[in-house]
């Protein structure tokens, strides 16, 4: 068995003979108040993930596509140790995602749709605070933070400005810097470019490509942007209402359904048009999985 460790991973050793991510029959069910139950409180079971299984090899970039409420964020939160499962199992570099959380937390970081920072604090202060949780002392962050901010294209004269003064694109760059500062070996990207202007979106996508080329990182990208998935990922999966319908290279997906685009593949797999649908049931799903 071969092992290695990233600088931040510290005491958490990484086995080289296991996949980066192994998910088997993973199930998550939320219980929400049934709005149609009248004055009596009744809880309704809302399955967010239904027996999802897949494997991601080390160094691979996998994109999971899905509409709002499909279960993408639930999957990311389960792998981030922020949720407990209701069945099945998930392993990250061989560690049980629900029982060996301390080991996993040293290996994983994420970027989500919302940049999520202390708004009154500056980019430098936010990164410094986040890095301490991973055991990085001031002597290291004084050197590393300006370097990583420069790398993501963040202007050096704005590093001391409160986050609330920055555009969404700028904030998302700082979010990428925060994730990379801790040298994660698994990077979870949950709609990292949603809501960004076209230029910022392109910059973030370029940076993700750069991370792939220069870091020993495995990437799980959850998105509803099909072009983004196609351009960044080795394999593309489709999560629909908690079920993973497929996970394979884009060319195989197109061949399997005999189509030319991923939008057509979505239609062929679900019988519905991507993003166009809207009904009350979907609203309920969105509320649960947001």
């Amino acid at each position: 068995m071969s092992t290695s460790a990233s600088p931040i991973a510290g005491s958490t050793s990484i086995r080289g003979d296991v996949p980066a991510v192994e998910v088997h029959d993973l199930t998550k069910v939320f219980r929400r108040r049934d709005k149609r139950a009248g004055r009596f409180v009744r809880r309704k079971r809302m399955p967010a993930l239904k027996n999802v299984s897949f494997t991601i090899e080390r160094g691979e970039c996998v994109a999971i596509l899905g509409q709002n409420g499909s279960g993408k964020s639930t999957l990311v939160r389960l792998l981030s140790t922020l949720l407990l499962d209701d069945g099945g199992e998930a392993r990250i570099f061989g560690y049980d995602a629900f029982r060996e959380t301390r080991a996993i937390r040293r290996l994983v970081n994420r970027v989500s749709v919302e940049a999520s920072f202390f708004k009154k604090m500056s980019a430098r202060e936010n990164l410094s605070y986040a890095a301490r949780f991973y055991g990085m002392p001031p002597s290291v962050t004084r050197r590393e933070i300006p370097a990583i901010l420069e790398k993501v294209g963040f202007p050096s004269d704005r590093q001391g400005e409160p986050m609330e003064n920055l555009s969404r694109g700028m904030q998302q760059k700082v979010a990428l810097a925060r994730a990379l500062l801790t040298s994660p070996v698994l990077l979870l990207l949950d709609e990292p470019t949603t809501g960004l202007d076209p230029r910022s979106k392109l910059e973030v996508q370029e940076f993700i490509k750069d991370v792939r080329a220069s870091h020993d990182a495995t990437i799980l990208l959850c998105t509803h942007d099909m072009a983004e998935a196609e351009s960044l990922a080795d394999r593309v999966g489709l999560l629909d209402r908690g079920e993973l319908l497929f996970l394979e290279p884009v060319a195989d997906v197109k061949r399997r359904y005999g189509v030319e685009t991923l939008e057509q593949a979505f239609f062929a797999a679900t019988g519905r048009v991507f993003e166009a649908e809207h009904n009350d049931e979907d609203d309920e799903y969105r509320e649960v999985f947001a």
Partner: protein, 273 residues
């Protein structure tokens, strides 16, 4: 460095990170802090002026004013500790950072411990300012005060206060809407049974029994004795505080971990909005 020493170092750096973040935030919200300080001083004055309205000898009035002042300062100090610990979750949820903090490899004891350490330091600075400003305004004389003993007792009591605060800090995790308010209810109840402005003996018998397990009872009794009579640190006040601290910290952590597990099971460990 051994693996255990390296792990401890990482944890302490994480604890330092929590303190560091709160220093940044305090600097950013400095004017809010000044306003809050003015409000606290005004509130304390309304309590301490009661001593002036009681027709007793000037010496007795001075003692009464000092006792009320100590009660009000401890109330304010405890309020800071409970506020910081109870809002460990609420702040992060409001700022949206909760998921990043709770998925970081920092033990919950260091996370909450960092909040507690900052709250104690910040609370002590505020309590000191409050104490001397109100004493000067009212003209309270404390010629025998043993400030060293009072500070020592407050420090020892703080460990128990942090433990109790940890128990209430889980409430916003379980109930995002009502959790923080329930934390303040716990603070109020603790002070009511601890004789914040009156001797414990004036309360009904059952409340006096409850007072025995409240760390504030011993802190108030000991600090009043130090400030009014110049007493030293009495073992009779110290040992109950240590016993309560030894029980409260692990119990607080256990309750928080249980609450965190519940939140993870039910999807409540997430940002607002």
């Amino acid at each position: 460095m051994t693996a255990a020493a390296a792990a401890l170092r990482r944890e302490l750096i994480g604890l330092g990170g929590i303190v560091e973040r709160n220093i940044y935030l305090t600097k950013r919200y400095f004017l809010w802090d000044v306003a809050f300080m003015v409000w606290t001083i005004a509130n304390t004055l309304t309590i301490v002026f009661i001593a002036r309205a009681v027709h007793v000898s000037p010496a007795r009035e001075n003692v009464l004013a000092t006792q009320l002042l100590v009660g009000a300062v401890i109330w304010a100090f405890l309020g800071i500790i409970f506020e910081f610990l109870t809002e460990t979750v609420a702040w992060e949820r409001w700022e949206g950072t909760i998921e990043y903090t709770f998925m970081a490899p920092l033990s919950r004891s260091m996370h909450l411990g960092g909040m507690g350490v900052f709250a104690v330091l910040y609370g002590m600075i505020r309590a000191t300012i409050l104490f001397f400003v109100v004493a000067a305004f009212i003209g309270i004389h404390m010629p025998d005060a043993n400030y060293g003993a009072a500070l020592a007792l407050l420090t020892i009591a703080s460990i128990s206060f942090i433990g109790v605060g940890m128990m209430t800090s889980v409430l916003p995790l379980i109930s995002p809407e009502k959790g923080a308010q329930l934390g303040f209810v716990a603070q109020g109840l603790m002070l009511v049974v601890s004789g914040v402005y009156y001797p414990v003996t004036v309360m009904p018998h059952w409340m006096q029994w409850v007072a025995k397990v409240s760390p504030a009872t011993y802190a108030l009794r000991g600090i009043r004795a130090s400030i009014v009579h110049g007493a030293g640190v009495a073992w009779a006040d110290v040992w109950p505080l240590l016993v309560i601290a030894v029980a409260a910290i692990p119990l607080g952590l256990a309750i928080f971990n249980r609450g965190e597990r519940y939140a993870k099971q039910h999807g409540k460990l997430k940002r607002s909005g």
